[in-house]
Symmetry: C2
Subunit: 332 residues, 2 copies
Amino acid sequence: MSEVTIVDVARHAGVSITTVSHALSGNRRVAEETRARIQHSIRELGYRPNAFARSLRTERSHMVALIIPDITNPYYPTLARGLQDALHAGGYQSFVCNTDGLREEERSFLKDSLQRRVDGIAFAAFATTARMLAPVIQEHIPLISIGTAIRHRKVDCVRTDDVAGARDATRYLIERGYDPIGMIGGPAGMSPSDHRLEGHRAALAEAGLAFDAQRFAVGDFTRAGGAAAMRELLERRARPRALFCANDLMAIGAMDALREAELGVPRDVAVMGYDDIEAAALVTPDLTTVVNPAYEMGRACGRLLLERMSGADDGPRREVVIPHRLIPRASA
Amino acid sequence: MSEVTIVDVARHAGVSITTVSHALSGNRRVAEETRARIQHSIRELGYRPNAFARSLRTERSHMVALIIPDITNPYYPTLARGLQDALHAGGYQSFVCNTDGLREEERSFLKDSLQRRVDGIAFAAFATTARMLAPVIQEHIPLISIGTAIRHRKVDCVRTDDVAGARDATRYLIERGYDPIGMIGGPAGMSPSDHRLEGHRAALAEAGLAFDAQRFAVGDFTRAGGAAAMRELLERRARPRALFCANDLMAIGAMDALREAELGVPRDVAVMGYDDIEAAALVTPDLTTVVNPAYEMGRACGRLLLERMSGADDGPRREVVIPHRLIPRASA
DNA sequence: TACGCTAGGCAAATCGTTTTCCACCGTCAA
DNA sequence: TTGACGGTGGAAAACGATTTGCCTAGCGTA
């Protein structure tokens, strides 16, 4: 109990509650002399406005929910930091909800966020459909979809362009003269898998090169999966001169398999990854890769949310595409 | 605006506000038939209790603050997840404050937490002294220090034992018969540096081995620093048979330098790290290391907070020491 | 019959703000 | 002289829950 309320401050300063409130909010002019007296009383008494009462009256919590699969997945802390840095400037805090990609958890956290009366939501959805968002939409709570899982005309979206990223990665290999070029992709049907494959094929087509299914293998986004896929490619005796992997972990796995086969990277086979996880810079040789700028994603979410929450912006749906970045290192 | 309030529910169900409230909180018996009618009305109207009003009355926010240097530092997401999982069970959420270890930020987030009326705080302090905590203590808000930076008789503490961890690491090298054993430490004066060195020396002493300053070098906890320290050791021609590094990054750097010198790990020099960062399992050879179980740390914080916040526990200061774990891999 | 007890329900006070409507007081222009 | 008008400031009504007394009906018991 802070015990000391605005009433105490008013009494101590010899003014009305109204005046104290206005001195704090700046909503109305208060004589300089009065304001000084109030400030003095506030310090004297150690007054701290009660956030509950304030929120009850204003209907704003200055809180947003960040709903993600798992803060432990190395992509999200950076995104969270970007979001928090952006929001902090506006006096907002955010709490993190870990859904593990489970539909029930997503639903439950969405509900909790509503109950807590958050002013906005940033949501990296996996299993949530636009229909499940009805209550959020109805309350006009700004919601931003991180990535493209949710498509709804009232829901803003911040995303990267995986197709373009994969195209750039493949182009990079082409331009450096590697030939032929293979790929280890992710499981079909997952949108990053599909987009990255699509970009890869587009770059080949642009350069007038054929996509050869013999030089394409599928992994499961893990290191072991990447190694297995690489071994499969080697057995097929259609060894590529350069290899684009749909993520860094598989690229690291591929390098394991190449080392087993006593092939040098990039001497015999150049390897390219995707994501730029921390380990990408730590393995040997360090991994050329494409980075999804998580921090910028988070920042963009934060800024967009701030605009929406300020109420000023009631415009049409917005879609922000954050540019990716290719990071040349030793492996390709 | 959810618009629908407890008044609407009461009217719709044909009972008084009081009864609805009690049906929800379970604070008083309500006839089964009445309760059913109320539940039905709630669903019908889509009623969601207003958290502000509730908190205003009950003085509980069901929110805790997690104040850490940087969620981007790979240690903290795991800790955050542990905390959140524990708190979730009690209906609590947590918001993250990134202080970057700056005194002013720490102060400011502490103040913000107070203003938001959090029910508890988990604080990994760097620059905050016990004195700065006066307002928190005064309001009887449960506070848990993560690590030992804050010492105060009202502040609980959850920590690991770096001395014991380093001792176990060194013992492990001794038991496997490596000799002589060297170490790359961190900058003197930082508590992890000092503790890990202390543990290292203790293990040597126990085994009747001498600590040889010739085989000790200092790095700065970075990869490059580890490599430089290793080169220094090699130049001194006092090459150790095994090396304990005060963190994984320096261990990885040391392996870089060994590779340069065309020395095999662990064939010529065995290497041991500390922390078990993600990359530790991804480098080649993968790194034997000691893990500070961040998840368990977070969980312990969460559980301790829950107990304190329940009000049941008003006992004396508590200190929880989370056991570390040695992870044998290929490098030693 | 009188009394106490229990279950269930109601009205109203309360939590600490923000905000709306009004009042007062000089000053200045008509 | 009067009315309008800034510049200040105050009283009181929300905001939406929880909780405290108080009441009633029904029932068992002395």
